[in-house]
Amino acid sequence: MNDMSWTPLGPPQPPPQPVPPPMPVAFSGSRKEFLRLVARGAGLELVTVGFYRFWLTTDIRRHLWSNTLIDGDAPEYTGRGKELLIGFLVALAILLPVYLGYFLIGIEAEHLKAFASLPLVAFFYVFGQFAIYRARRYRLTRTVWRGVRFWMSGSGWIYALNASLWGLLVVITFGLALPWREAALERYKMRHSYYGDLQGSFEGRGWEFFKRGWWLWLLMPFALSSYVFAPFAYAAFKAVEWRWWLSGIRFGEVRLESTLSRGALIGLYWKVIGCILLLVVVFAVYVVLSTLLVASMSGSSIDTFFKTEAFAKSIPLIVLLGIGYLAFALAMNVVMRVYLMRDLWVRVLSSTIVHNIAAAANVTARGDLANALGEGFADGLDVGGF
């Protein structure tokens, strides 16, 4: 199936068939290797009190990018952890006065009326959208395929304004406008995305998304009220969203298509829930055992231990619980990354087909690197993606 990557490119070949067959996208990475990567990363995050996150994020992307085979060739992620760290520090230097200004303006607003400063949160929403755009720009410019990089133009602030106004509309329409919001934002992002001199575009229509997902909107009240039903609804929504999004992506004449079925992600999300429940049970057992241990060591009976509330103030217990909590948090991290990054990536990729890849056979390199400031903001504001 990968013969396309070899035969048409030998110089003396006859011209290829006029319509080349669609090309599936493959993933060659081993799950064990990824697991080892994130487990080691979680440990290092603990040792470095979180600073390792920049390098872990980079390693995860390097792994995912370089194991994805498009037309037989794997892209390359050329970003480095140090860039993310610098972006984060610069973002911090900018955010600090912003937070301070936010605080002072908030005081003035509160002076007029209690809790009048809450709308200022809206400012951070806009800022978060800006960060999302700029972070995407960083990631895209660090993505190289066949010796040519992707890049992005456009303005983060215009995007943020767009996203915020559309966001308002989504709120007003109780979510009904969501498909059109996503379509409009994707159009903006893809129109300003390039692979070399090949310009991207987005052909997904809000209406198509709506047609595939309207029943989910109707089911939303049930999803919100039922813990069992919610994961099904969310998984179906994500699957519909992924499929619609991928099927809308174009680069020049190259066209992507996704065949992801509505139920394709349900198992994945339930596996995550299962793992989390398991971790919670393990953590609970650990808490009970360490409490019993500390109680028996302090010599008092369990009853008096609890009655005197001594358990809330015992140093050994607090230390034991702290360690347990950290281990729990890191294990959660590993679970999330394995299922919701790697497995999700593979599942979505396996449904993706590239049409007319030959249209990207002779692309001229263009575009400059973008800095990681957006990633820094995204980190500081807790928005972000892969």
Partner: protein, 384 residues
């Protein structure tokens, strides 16, 4: 010679014939970094790596300039320092890979490696230590030095904001029984004079059942009805009010604001993204700030003792009132995370302070005034 390694069997099956014809030498795939054209090239290792297509030499890479780039397993992807930065050469032939790896001494120099990880860990630990030191020593110092620089008018603004929020949060209406108000004003007035405050200090009793009292920046003292209900004589309430005036005198809430803001920011910076760091941040922050506020409480107690003694009244009743509210706190092990000193320690301290200082002043309120104060929130709750 086969140009592909064994693991790419799907390619080998149908294209090996054409490829082996096209590349008789051990070859690779070359991207020149200027366009994405995929060129099947022949490779020659002389004193440098020569990349040729047919008779044309496309590039010549010196071995010490060659670097490894990320690639899927089974494939060696190379870049070169002197070539365009995105020029790539991909090789699948294991024998050729082995030979190149042997010749390029600095192949891995630019990739993240173990040494890099050690450096990251080292710097992170250093950063963490310095942040912890700043939190423990720098922030209190900054709070100490910055507080006097904050203009009164600004502090009063913050106080107004906090007041509005407090009234919403605790749903507390100021109590306005006229006789009670008069008694309260008299009590506060005496304390204020004795403590040397001007009359900018505002104070109110709020109809909230919680037994508490606090001071806000800019000179506001609030007493909750719940505490008033538990009090048995005016000295108890006077002591509490004097304690809050002590906070005002030392501008503790302003200092705490700066201190908490700085500490939250730095600790948030430290833990960043470790999932669930919210709880960690909260826990470590309360550890740091509570030790800080214990000092402030002790100082406010000192102030309350002095003020009460100046009025010729004992300080101990305040301790007794608190003891009634909190009960015995000691003997439960560990008090690192509590924001106040142990109640019994405070009581003992006040008792000791009173011992050398016989109370000889007039009662602060007559018994009728005291009854009126107890009933300030009306509704009969204040009845004895």
């Amino acid at each position: 010679m086969a140009s592909m390694s064994a693991d790419s069997s799907d390619m080998e099956s149908d294209s090996s014939a054409t490829n082996s014809a096209a590349t008789p030498d051990p070859g690779g795939v070359f991207f020149d970094g200027l366009s994405n054209r995929r060129r099947i090239v022949a490779l020659k290792l002389s004193d440098a790596l020569e990349i040729r297509q047919g008779d044309e030499q496309l590039a010549r890479w010196a071995f010490h300039d060659i670097r490894r780039a990320d690639s899927p397993s089974g494939l060696l992807r190379l870049s070169c320092l002197t070539a365009p930065s995105l020029a790539r050469l991909e090789i699948r032939d294991p024998a050729l890979i082995a030979e190149l790896v042997a010749r390029c001494a600095t192949l891995e120099a630019d990739l993240p490696n173990r040494k890099g990880v050690v450096a990251i860990v080292g710097w992170s630990v250093a950063a963490a230590v310095s942040i912890v030191l700043v939190v423990l020593f720098g922030v209190p110092l900054a709070a100490e030095r910055l507080t006097p620089l904050v203009p009164d008018s600004f502090e009063r603004r913050i106080g107004d904001v906090a007041e509005a929020q407090v009234k919403v949060l605790f749903d507390g209406k100021p109590c306005s029984n006229a006789a009670g108000q008069a008694a309260f004003a008299k009590l506060v007035g005496k304390l204020r004079e004795s403590a040397g405050f001007d009359n900018s200090v505002q104070s109110d009793v709020l109809a909230t059942p919680m037994p508490n009292a606090f001071a806000l920046p800019g000179g506001k003292v609030f007493l909750f009805d719940g505490l008033l209900e538990k009090a048995e004589n005016p000295d108890e309430i006077a002591g509490v009010l004097a304690h809050e005036l002590g906070h005002l005198r030392h501008r503790d809430s302003m200092r705490e604001l700066i201190h908490n803001g700085g500490t939250s920011f730095l600790i948030g910076l430290l833990f960043g993204d470790v999932t669930g760091s919210g709880a960690l941040i909260f826990a470590s922050r309360s550890l740091v700030t509570s030790s800080y506020s214990r000092d402030a409480e002790t100082n406010a107690d000192t102030f309350a003792i002095e003020t009460m003694h100046k009025l010729g009244r004992p300080a101990k009743p305040m301790g007794e009132l608190m003891f009634r509210v909190t009960g015995k706190e000691g003997g439960k092990g560990f008090s690192l995370i509590s924001s106040h000193p142990l109640t019994e320690d405070r009581l003992a301290r006040m008792d000791k302070a009173d011992a050398g200082n016989k109370p000889n002043g007039q009662p602060l309120l007559s018994s009728a005034e005291w009854q009126a104060l107890k009933g300030i929130c009306g509704s009969g709750k204040g009845k004895v």
